[in-house]
Each structure stands twice: as structure tokens, then as C-alpha cells.
Symmetry: C2
Subunit: 238 residues, 2 copies
Amino acid sequence: MDTTKHAHISQQFNAELEDIRTRVLAMGGIVEKQVHDAVTSLVEGDVELAESVIVNDYQVNALEVAIDEECTQTLVRRQPAASDLRLIIAVIKTITDLERIGDQAEKVARMAIQLAESERPQNQYMEIRSIGRRAHDQLHQALDAFARMDIEVALAVAQEDTNIDQEYKGIIRQRITFMMEDPRKITTSLNVIWAARALERIGDHARNLSEYVIYLVRGKDVRHISLEQMEIEARKEE
Amino acid sequence: MDTTKHAHISQQFNAELEDIRTRVLAMGGIVEKQVHDAVTSLVEGDVELAESVIVNDYQVNALEVAIDEECTQTLVRRQPAASDLRLIIAVIKTITDLERIGDQAEKVARMAIQLAESERPQNQYMEIRSIGRRAHDQLHQALDAFARMDIEVALAVAQEDTNIDQEYKGIIRQRITFMMEDPRKITTSLNVIWAARALERIGDHARNLSEYVIYLVRGKDVRHISLEQMEIEARKEE
């Protein structure tokens, strides 16, 4: 193969990889909006917005299937090695977690519809607004880490996950107190707990996303290790 | 390359793929045992067994990382095409779901420890025994479908998932009634609900596993479509 032809193929390949990255970020943007809208629909009792979140979930699913297919095709055609292969494997995992974040957003929207039927609490679902903002920020940062291949941002996402877990546990404790004080609040409280749990799960998925970024940049699998160990591994040069 | 050498490499490659399949099934066996032990520990109030489930989760995590690494290495070295590539992609996804089933088993074990401190209910946690058996059977069948590349078994797993969902909803309804009748049962009931939810999630993951089997055998992505559509797609010849 002459050099010009080789350069041409390599350029095409780079364009393909860039296209995959762009599509993942587009999918991420839609999922982010779904999370944002789901939380807003619950906090503001906006049933119409909640219904639009449920309807739009198909877009997220369709993108997962399409990007997955594109990754498989690229593996077959290009047989990439080293960092290009890592990118494709990281993308295959990333879109699975993004799709599941979409499912959690849909769950929050379903709870929003249930809750819209009951009396609004005095605190206006402040606790869901708070944990929802955290979950959304985590997801946003994880996508940012992916876009900029930024290890430090990825590490920050992993660390922040502990705070969401704490906040979630606080919501459960508070709701148990409410339910004990007034058993008529049990159904409503359970719906709030389900929504909080879905948002806490989004935090877990954002953490997974950030682990894939570290794998992508450093070539190291940092799952199932402590945060301290993850920092050491991520900051080592490859 | 002469034919003998080619045949030799191809033999080695087949051995590698067979090794990956065997390790996935070994991981599946451990995860199955974890689910079984977690349910038993809860139903029988066996704290020691529950603790062993929590401790053994690291084995599942370690296998996920090791098999993942083996898949990446095989992609780099062998650059497989068509059905071999599909096997590796299906395995990468399968082990992610198996690891998450392991996490759910650990959650059930944690609930077992919490519940062992409270008074045993008259029904001896019959509802957890029942949904637990279903979740375990689903997982077992999904692994069986993978081992035998059996489309019909995979379809049966996907269909059965609806029944677990129904059973789970029944448990929630019953527990809401209990909590309303006697607010002192709220904490215990929530622990039963968390355990039931973890088992219901295992059903979802088993369904994912069966979808990867259909992808593997038929080369078709059957996620996010109706059960009827899935049957039609899966039974079509490739």
C-alpha cells in the first residue's frame, strides 16, 4: 500500500472514531436532559413533562443500539489495536450505563405522575430537588471527563458518589420517621423513596462512566478498588 | 502462511474462545451460588451464611476484571470477525450483568443480617423464598441458554421476567398493608422490600443475559423490543 493510501485510510478511521465519540456525547446530552426533566417534573408536579420523559426514553434506547452496532462494525472493519480498541470497548460499556441512567430517569418520571395525585408536601420535595441536582451534576461531569479525557474530573465524580449515597440514606431515615408518625403517608413516602433510589443509582452509573474514562486514558481497570487506590492508579503515567 | 500453521493458529484460537466460555460459566456458577446462599441466609436467619456471601463478592468482581482483560487481549491478538467477535462482545456484556447480579445478592445478604435482628414473621419469609427461587431459576436458565446457545431457553427467560415483576409488585402491596396496620413493622417491611427489589433486579439482569444469547446466536440486537417481536426475530434464521 502506498503512503498516500495508508494516510487516507488512517484519516477515515480517525473520522469514524471521532464520529462514535460525538454520538456518545449526543446520547449523553439527551440522557442528561431526561434526568433534568424527570426531576423537574416531580418537584413541580408537572405531569405533562413527566409523560414526555417516558415517551422520549425510546430515543435513548435507539441510540444505544445504533452506537453499539457502529462499534461492532468498526471492530470488524478496522481491527483496531491499543488505545483505539480501548476507546471502542469503553464506548460499548458507556452506552450501556447511559441507557440504564435513561431507565432510572423514566422511573423518576413515573413516580412524578404518582405523586402529582397526592397532596404536595410543605417542603416542596426539596430533598428530591437536592439529590436530583447532585445526580445530574455527576452525570454532567462524567460526560465532561469523557469529552476531555480528563482523569481529574473522572476522579472527582468517583469521590462525589459517596455524598449522594449519604444524602440518599438521609432521605430514607427521614421518610421512615414520616411513615411512623403518620401511616397515611406510607404510599407517598414510598414513591419519594423510589425516586430517591433511582437518583442514587444514577450516581452509581456516573461513577461507572468515570471509571471507563480512567480505563480509556490510562489503560487500567479501576473498578472494585478503594477510592485511594483508584487515585494512585489513575495518576500514575501509563 | 502454510496450511498446517494456519490450522494450528486456528486451533489455538478456538481453545482460547472455549477457555473464555468456560470461565464465564464458572463465574456464572459462583454468582448462582451467591444468589442461592443470600436467599437462604435471609429465609433461615443465618447470619454466618449472609456474611460469607458479602465476603465472597470479591471473587465475582475479580473474575469480571480477569475475563474482561482476557477478552481485550483476544481482540488485540486475534482480531476476530463475525461470530467470534460476537461471542467476545456478548461475553463482555454478560460478565457486567453477572457482576451486578453478584452486587444484588450481596444486598440481599445485608438485608438478611438486618432482618435476623428482628422477630421472625409467621410466614417465615415465604414471599422472599418464592421470588428468590424464581430469580435463581431465571439466572440458572439464562446461563444454561448461554452454555448451549439455546434460543428457546433464552426466550423462556425473557418471558418469565414478567412473572417476577408481578410477584414483586404483590410483595410491595402486601407490605404496604402491613405497614399501615402496624407502623412498628415499617423498618422490617422496608428491609423485606429491599430484598425483594434486589431479587426482581436479578430477574432483569437474567433477561439481559438471555438477550445477549439471542444476539450471539442470531446476530440480532433484540433489546428494547416487545416480547412478541423478540420471538419473531429470534426464531428467524440468520
